[in-house]
């Protein structure tokens, strides 16, 4: 099972976001920096949450920001933004969010292998704490099981 690419350019540590929209926007900017998505993907990720609520906060402290496959996605990719100050998404149990994992998937049919690889990492319940505490991109890549370029 292969994790979507997570290059250093898609990682931002200790970011400042005033609210959940800003946090998701940073996650989209990171995907655009790495060439995985176009800048408009961030708006699509924000719209998913506006339409359906804060369900993207899928575990304590972690938001899985994503939208559907479509023209805004260039190629499969991940981004990770850790927040200096946690932000609330309005989730009843899993707020506040310290780590935003951005996900861009180019083909709906192919997403499960990628998602399974993500699940493998986070089934270790300490992974979110480790990511939130990381101080370098290389450390984030090590936690995610990605070898630095």
């Amino acid at each position: 099972m292969s994790l979507p690419p997570l290059p250093e350019s898609a990682i931002e540590i200790g970011a400042v976001a005033k609210d959940w929209r800003a946090a998701v926007a940073l996650s989209g900017e990171a995907l655009a920096r790495s060439g995985s998505a176009r800048p408009g993907y961030a708006d699509e990720m924000i719209r998913m949450i506006e339409d359906h609520g804060p369900y993207v906060v899928i575990a304590p402290g972690l938001a899985l920001a994503h939208a559907r496959p479509g023209p805004q996605v260039i190629t499969n990719g991940l981004s990770i933004v850790t927040l200096k100050e946690p932000v609330r998404f309005g989730h009843a149990h899993n707020d506040p969010v310290r780590v935003v994992l951005g996900l861009a998937i180019s083909e709906a049919g192919a997403h499960l292998a990628a998602v399974a690889a993500v699940a493998n990492i986070f089934n270790d319940s300490s992974a979110i704490d480790q990511l939130a505490a990381a101080t370098t991109a290389a450390e984030i890549q090590r936690i995610m099981g990605v070898s630095p370029e």
Binding site: V56, R68, L112, A116, N123
Partner: protein, 90 residues
């Protein structure tokens, strides 16, 4: 048995739920087909499902169904999934 996982996009969180539900089912030694879908297709996809796994946000949109709707709080917690599946099936 058929289990459907529901989220907004049909990728991402419903995919995580599918992968982890399959892990929980293996741990419980139960067999089921698990399908990930987005909430707009729930009527057709879940028409013959016994269980729908989802987040709280989608319960209202799923509406009336013959399936048991189970809300999962931490999608990465396979023990929460296993416990709730066992309660529903037991």
């Amino acid at each position: 048995m058929k289990i459907v996982t529901i989220c907004g996009a049909g990728i991402g969180s419903s995919g995580v739920l599918k992968v982890n539900a399959e892990r929980a089912l293996r741990a419980l030694d139960l067999e089921a087909t698990v399908v990930a879908a987005d909430v707009s297709t729930v009527r057709t996809v879940a028409a013959d499902a016994q269980i729908i796994l989802t987040s709280q946000e989608f319960v209202e949109a799923i509406g009336k169904t013959n399936a048991d709707v189970i809300v999962i709080v931490n999608l990465f917690d396979t023990s929460e999934l296993a416990q709730k599946l066992e309660d529903a099936l037991g």
